[in-house]
């Protein structure tokens, strides 16, 4: 027996590990996959940790612009929940039959989980006066950064606010358009733009909070930025997805959203 040909160890190891490789994914519970709008990136991770402690459900978030996430979901991205920065993208998915607010058939509207706040942000060492509506009227304002109004909800709100103030036509040649709200903030933070209309969630992130100051734009100047959530129709984890939405709407989490720059809806 001892003198017989010996199978090389690596082969034995491989044979022993092969079933494990196949079985491992079946043993672990798949995480709840959350497609989240980029403005949630500063605040969602701790909320998802709290959610896991409270329910035992592990959720993983992917942060992108709402438009990119929508295109990905339309093309079969394996998400369970979509937290958009507005209502138009969730509605688009509902109309395409790809998502519902609660379950199949019950697809009236996305659930609004928070409202966004538009602020005017400047660096503290700016040559302009501290942020206020007068800064937008000032001839010294050379470059105003906004997010792309075609698709970024805060960009849309920024243009609406400038139009309500009858400043849009005058400021249009001085606008620099960024891909998203974070990039608009970078334009200002790097001092290449004098000021920017960005989200309060961005203005409250540690770097921007340290570098600059903000002015909350009056809410009657732009239509509300309602952030809507939907459950993706083909999810295999509808109950867990439902729990996450309920958790987001719970008083404790809503209070936390308020601290991070979103307006609670409850």
């Amino acid at each position: 027996m001892d003198g017989g040909p010996r199978t090389p160890v690596p082969k034995q190891l491989f044979a022993a590990l092969l079933p494990l490789l196949v079985l491992a994914p079946l043993g672990a519970q798949a995480p709840l996959r959350v497609a989240a709008a980029a403005d949630l990136e500063p605040l969602l991770p701790p909320i998802l940790s709290q959610f896991e402690r409270a329910t035992g459900i592990h959720a993983e978030a992917t942060y992108q612009s709402s438009a990119t996430l929508t295109a990905q979901i339309e093309n079969g991205a394996p998400f369970d929940v979509f937290l958009s920065a507005d209502l138009s993208f969730p509605k688009r998915l509902i109309e395409a039959g790809l998502a519902g607010a609660a379950g199949p058939g019950d697809s009236a509207a996305p659930i609004t989980y928070a409202r966004g706040t538009l602020v005017l942000w400047e660096r503290k060492d700016s040559h302009l006066l501290p942020p206020s509506l007068d800064v937008l009227r000032s001839p010294a304002l050379n470059r105003l950064a906004i997010a792309n109004p075609e698709r970024a909800p805060y960009g849309r709100a920024a243009v609406a606010a400038l139009k309500s103030m009858k400043l849009y036509d005058r400021l249009k040649p001085r606008l620099v358009t960024a891909e998203n709200i974070a990039q608009a903030a970078q334009f200002v933070d790097s001092a290449n733009a004098d000021a920017g209309l960005i989200s309060l969630t961005s203005a409250l992130t540690p770097t921007l909070f340290a570098d600059g100051s903000y002015f909350v734009m009056p809410r009657d100047l732009y239509p509300p930025i309602e952030q809507g959530a939907v459950i993706i129709s083909k999810t295999g984890q509808r109950a867990a997805a439902r729990k996450l939405l309920d958790f987001l709407l719970s008083p404790a989490v809503q209070a936390e959203l308020a601290k991070s720059g979103l307006t609670p809806v409850r």
Binding site: A71, E150, R151, Q183, F187, S190
Partner: protein, 226 residues
């Protein structure tokens, strides 16, 4: 549905043309230096000239935005010379594109110059040719295909440049809104029909340019065989 954005098309061609011209002026002497020179520091020069390929383009764009912005002495100096800040301007995109596309001009030239028969180079040197004469009379004619490749790659890479333009440009029509930005905007706005048209123009341009380069090198190959 939006029509084809010819203003952005013209802007992309202008940006790529200006960038390619500047790149050749930089890359030909640089490649000759790398191939002809002696010394370890040349390895550092070659590495540095390849480095823009490593950084994600939006990150490179962000660094340029900071470097060329009014918060650095360099940025303030340039703004003083030009009379306007570089960010969000066509000139700023040229600076960004030259840095971003540098490896695509230098690499083919280095490869081409290095493949020139050393006997030819030594003979020219013995006959008293200096570096300029070596490049103009030996390197460029003999490594013609690499020279053409450097031009086409720099040009196309600049036309297709996205991340740097996105960060440095600010999407201003006629000044910084290039064709690749328009294409990205169309895709992100779900205007797939317009995106298809824009992409078709970009692809058509690239196929034509590449076919041109490969047909000339093919012609040369068959002449040699004959």
């Amino acid at each position: 549905m939006s029509a084809m954005d010819w203003q952005a098309f013209a802007l992309s061609l202008r940006l790529a043309g200006v960038t390619t011209a500047i790149l050749l002026a930089i890359a030909v002497p640089l490649a000759a230096l790398i191939v002809l020179g002696r010394g370890r520091w040349l390895a550092a020069v070659e590495a540095l000239s390849t480095l823009p390929m490593v950084l994600p383009p939006t990150v490179l764009g962000f660094f340029l935005l900071v470097l060329l912005g009014p918060r650095t002495a360099f940025g303030r100096g340039i703004a003083a010379v030009l009379g306007h800040p570089l960010a969000f301007s066509f000139d700023g995109l040229v600076v960004g594109s030259v840095i971003y596309s540098l490896p695509f001009a230098v690499q083919p030239l280095v490869a081409g110059f290095a493949s020139v028969d050393t006997a030819l180079v030594e003979a020219a040197r013995l006959l008293g040719a200096g570096p300029v004469r070596l490049v103009s009379s030996i390197f460029i004619p003999v490594a013609r295909r690499s020279f053409l490749a450097a031009i086409v790659l720099s040009f196309l890479h600049t036309v297709g440049e996205f991340g740097v333009v996105l960060m440095l440009g600010g999407d201003i029509p006629g000044a910084t809104r290039t064709l690749s930005i328009v294409l990205y905007d169309q895709v992100e706005s779900f205007d797939y029909a317009a995106a298809n048209r824009t992409a078709a123009v970009l692809l058509g341009l690239s196929v034509l340019a590449l076919a041109a380069i490969y047909s000339t090198s093919r012609k040369r190959g068959s002449e040699q065989r004959a």
